[in-house]
Amino acid sequence: MGKRIAFTEQLCTNCHLCSMYCSLAFTKDGIFEFRPSIGRIRVAENDDDTKYVAHVCLQCREPACAACCPAGAITKDPETGIVMINDEECTGCELCIAACEFGCICMVDGTAVKCEVCDDPLCVRACAVKALDLVDADDSVADQGDLYKEVPL
């Protein structure tokens, strides 16, 4: 069974620790770096500061990002259900970013990146208010998706 990161808006405090710790998982060469701008999970707030929404890939059943990728760099792993980007094949055209209506893909150094669900996700560990959870991918994603459209990045 595949996994994804579930988000509970009511618990979020807009602290961005998830983005900070996510970025740590992607630093290289034995250097540890908090670089929230490369986090695969990113928090948006609405205009009147009443909702805080952490955008993280829903691992869609039929991913629009994969369907539109001209390089065929995005695939949904048939076994795990996780939507993966092959960074060697990605040309940086950003079509996937436009195609994802949930705002869950971003560009880092010319390559599209997204949450590919770590084994023991640092974002979940870092969330002090337990607004994030690692859940089975077949759980309903509709509410989380609606939230992403309501409070876009």
Partner: protein, 601 residues
């Protein structure tokens, strides 16, 4: 360098010149960052006797090596300058989201010098830094400014700015970031206004290196511990306004300009009442696992309308109990107004309290103010707050602060502050160590250079009598030095000061970030160095024992009925011992030997 970004930005607003200079590793080692680093730069470079509002004053925005690391509550920055309110060195700090953007843009500090000819703002997008004209922002409040600057720069830009109060040189103007968080004290917004600098907008995408991230993940365990401790549960649930109940229960909630220590309408302006009436949700600053922030909105049936953050405890005191406003709607509205016009809620409140007492004494008349101003009259307080921000009518002189007014109208004893800055919300007659702390703080009546609630009221680490001098000089010295180090790191003082083992934890986090071992004693020593440097800065301007004073109300007028009835602050007795322990002369001057020992001279 782990922790530091390794770069300092210098912006000369007179010439428009922008220079990036590398961070000196020795400076980082000895003074860390934040208040420490910036105070050292000011000490070395400033013409000490300059006019705080002249172009020669320097305004330093600074974060610390722990900002945007996993260290507990690591989302702070501060502003260091020579204060127009006190004439001393000062540092005023704030949380929110601006500090993280500022640091990840790649800078440990921004030093502003000179004065722009016209109103300008600074736009920083990582390595790109430009000064932009801001004449169209003139007179705008802080919410409008954030909106407009974002439209002109980037929708995710984080903005720190002044409102009309800063432009009009109200002596206690604040720098407001993210519309609701304030580097409020000591008139740092006034200095920004004097430089014709309306805003600093930042977008940062760089990273902060750390040595041992796993160690930093302990922050959440510690945060859990704070939330589970008695004080912690209340803290997460009620935010800082929970202190209204703590202070009232201990008869130390300053009321009616510090005449009393108990506010009868406390339960109308406390954290529980906010949950019932105004709280939308709790929120955190960047990188903080606690969530003491209050996102609030005045309900539809309230006599005032608006939305924003808070009020925090200090405002419940300054614009609540201390001016006898027992009305949450009015208090919340005044808090919003101060954030919008960009001024310190605390000195705004101190100023109102001073005027109210002078009015009661007949020394300031209705004719002078333009309307009556009796205790608790929030409608006229609101009128006056707007006049102050705009520099109109009586508001012009009220914007000079409580000390100015008390002196001018012939009753200097009614100003409740030290070195020209109003006190925070802890009544020293009921916790005399706090009195010593206010008197010896380098920036006057401030609660951020140390706080004695835990030792004096909550008995942590061990119970002590809040009403006597015993043990107070020792305790105050360690609180001041520890706070100086914490503030130098760029983290929030709050959790560390709540925890019994706070100093041990900050030393461990600092070690984990920089990758070298620092003990508790090591970090205390750095804190002591920073504190002494600030003291020596002020000493060179003529500040000595005579300035480490408290108003007679605290040292001669007996405390009101309740806990501590009849008590006064034994200041001189505590000062003698404090100076001796500090290694200063009886006149409060740091000895040459002490300064050399700390590497200051």
């Amino acid at each position: 360098m782990n922790g530091w970004m390794g770069k300092i930005l210098r912006v000369n607003l007179t010439s428009g010149e922008i220079v990036k200079q590398p961070m000196d590793p020795d400076l980082a080692r000895n003074y860390v960052g934040g208040r420490g680093l910036a105070s050292k730069i000011l000490f070395d470079e400033l013409e000490l006797d300059c006019d705080p509002l002249g172009p020669e004053n320097m305004l330093i925005f600074v974060n610390g090596p722990l900002t945007v690391t996993g260290a507990l509550s690591s989302g702070r920055y501060m502003i260091v300058t020579k204060s127009p309110l006190t004439g001393t060195i000062c540092s005023s700090n704030s949380g929110g989201y601006f500090p993280a953007a500022f640091k990840t843009a790649g800078y440990d500090a921004i030093i502003f010098m000179g004065r722009a000819e016209k109103l300008v703002y600074l736009w920083i997008h990582d390595d790109n830094v430009e000064i932009r004209e801001a004449t169209e922002l003139k007179g705008m409040d802080t919410h409008e400014t954030v909106e407009l600057v974002r439209r002109e720069t980037h929708k995710e830009a984080r903005v720190a700015c002044i409102g009309p109060a800063g432009e009009n040189l109200v002596r206690y103007a604040a720098v407001i970031n993210d519309a609701c968080r304030a580097a409020a004290r000591s008139g740092v917004g006034t200095v920004m206004g004097s430089k014709n600098l309306k805003a600093v907008a930042v977008r940062g995408t760089k990273g902060v290196r750390v040595a041992d991230p796993e160690e930093l993940l302990r922050s959440n365990i510690i945060a859990d511990h704070i939330k589970k401790a008695d004080l912690g549960i209340a803290f997460a649930e009620f935010g800082t306004p929970l202190f209204v109940d703590v202070m009232n229960a201990n008869n130390i909630m300053p009321t009616r300009n510090f005449k009393e220590g108990f506010f009868h309408e406390g339960d109308v302006i406390n954290g529980a009442e906010m949950i019932d009436r105004t709280l939308v949700r709790s929120k955190a600053c960047y990188g903080c696992p606690l969530n003491c922030g209050r996102n609030t909105r005045l309900p539809a049936d309230a006599k005032f309308q608006g939305r924003g953050d808070g009020p925090e405890y200090e405002t419940c005191f300054s614009l609540g109990s201390n001016i006898c406003v027992g009305d949450l709607d009015a208090l919340t509205k005044m808090n919003y107004i101060c954030n919008e016009v960009g001024m310190d809620t605390m000195d705004a409140g101190t100023t109102l309290a001073t005027i109210m007492e002078l009015y009661e004494m007949g020394l300031i008349t209705e004719k002078k103010i333009g309307f009556p101003l009796v205790w608790g009259d929030y409608d006229n307080c609101i009128r006056l707050l707007y006049l102050i921000a705009r520099g109109e009518a009586f508001g012009r002189e009220a914007g000079m602060g409580g000390k100015y007014l008390a002196d001018k109208y012939g009753a200097p004893e009614v100003f409740m502050g030290s070195k020209g800055q109003g006190f925070a919300g802890y009544h020293p007659r009921g916790m005399v160590g706090q009195g010593l702390l206010y008197a010896t703080s380098p920036e006057g009546g401030n609660h951020t250079t140390g706080n004695t609630i835990q030792p004096e009221i909550n008995g942590i680490p061990e119970p002590m009598d809040p009403l006597t001098a015993t043990g107070k000089p020792e305790m105050v010295i360690s609180r001041q030095d520890e706070t100086a180090f914490i503030e130098a790191c760029g983290v929030c003082v709050f959790p560390y000061m709540l925890l019994e083992e706070g100093t041990e934890i900050i030393a461990e986090f600092y070690s984990a970030v920089v990758g070298e071992h620092y003990s508790e004693d090591d970090v205390r020593k750095i804190g002591e160095r920073i504190f002494n440097l600030e003291r020596e800065f002020n000493r060179r301007l003529g500040f000595t024992r005579k300035n480490d004073s408290l108003p007679k109300r605290l040292t001669e007028e007996p405390h009101n009925e309740g806990i501590g009835e009849g008590n006064v602050v034994p200041l001189e007795e505590m000062l003698d011992r404090y100076y001796q322990l500090r290694g200063w002369t009886g006149d409060g001057v740091p000895s040459e030997e002490k300064l050399k020992d700390l590497g200051i001279i």
